[in-house]
Symmetry: D2
Subunit: 137 residues, 4 copies
């Protein structure tokens, strides 16, 4: 449960895009930031941690990029499409790279945290693509 929709509905100005797409973008970014931090941590406790270096790096990067992108979209006042596009492109790429790495570990090593994390990454990648269309890429 989050307040994302409710607080956006109280915004006193005009939002830069359709409310549903905006809320999904913000929620997907914060959710992915959380999942990626948790997956990096779960990788760290695994016995085969030395095989998971790339996964940890991808997760840490993706978590930071998603948290930043989520915040950029919280800022609707003097919303700048060029800034939005740059953030969305970086975020979609971070999510794609992290999802691919996590999906591989889910498939080959049965890592459940990687499976869940990849889901959060793919959802966020999609939300960023949709937001890019809405902003006008």
């Amino acid at each position: 449960m989050t307040h994302a929709r409710e607080i956006l509905d109280t915004y006193p100005g005009t939002t830069a895009m359709d409310a549903a797409a905006l809320v999904e973008c913000i929620e997907a970014c914060f959710d992915c930031a959380q999942s990626c931090s948790a997956c990096a941590d779960a990788c760290l406790v695994e016995q085969v941690v030395s095989h998971l270096r790339r996964c940890i790096t991808m997760c840490l990067n993706c978590s930071d990029v998603c948290a930043t992108t989520g915040r950029v979209f919280c800022r609707q006042t003097d919303f700048e499409p060029a800034m939005a596009r740059a953030a969305l492109q970086a975020c979609a790429e971070a999510c794609r790279l992290c999802a691919e790495e996590c999906e591989r570990h889910a498939r080959e090593m049965n890592m459940e945290h990687c499976r869940v994390c990849a889901e959060a990454c793919r959802r966020c990648e999609r939300a960023c693509s949709d937001a890019l269309s809405a902003v006008g890429a």
Copy 2:
């Protein structure tokens, strides 16, 4: 909708506290980080922005502290109670200060974004207090 519960359930080690309290703490922190970023932005677009300086500062601080605390609790590997306590105390205080400021603007100026933000802050303050009890303050 978030993956917080699902990814926590896949953690390969033992979590430092009851899963329900942990998930609520993590979700409340990320939610409050989002609401506070959005409320600072909504304050900025208000015509009376010069009356909202303290509210913007409180929201920006609270957003950063909540995002950090949420991440600290994503890290269950070699979880350190002393670190957890320090983060929770800072977070509960940031949420309390921000909630008080927002509640005043909700009451006196009918600011709906402040009302919603205060709700997110009070939820997070409560979750931090509960987590403090669980960690052993």
Copy 3:
């Protein structure tokens, strides 16, 4: 004074690019993250804060993007050029947009904090461009 060069020199692996360019990129990102947070705050205390909404939004966005990019470059283990490029492109754009806005206020309104912030943004924009060349854009 920072430890950026010293800690990079102790990295046990091979860094993805020339040490001097890497250190400048990391230092410029963290410096710009700091300057932009301070400039947003200085704008907020100005009497003409209602004229500075766009500047505050640009500064808050730029601060977040720079902090994230600085961290991505701290991570040399399994460094992924595609991730680096995406982060650098977003960061160079955030810095350019923020610098343009701050330069205007420095010029037209004599705002000294905007003049200093624009310097930090232009330095970071340059460092990101140089790093993009080094990574292979």
Copy 4:
């Protein structure tokens, strides 16, 4: 080289504490955020990464807490001593815990990145203690 002193000197209001202590606190926080991110990454590439789990967790936590505290002190507008104290206490604790862990690896395993990181942590712990005295703990 950072712009921290220069931008603080242009602040149009009155800062909450002595400029020298404030600049040192801000610079030490951003420097420690950077060093801790780099040390976590250097630990990750080590062959004995499974012995460094606690170090990585401490570094990731300390990096987040320092970045947040550095930002809180960039915000001098409507500076709230209670918020400052809470952030400083959490930050001093995060730095102390991370420094102790890193010093152990520097001493017992000759890890140079841990030695440098511990220096950055101890500097930041000191700066937070000094700032706590200045704010009035």
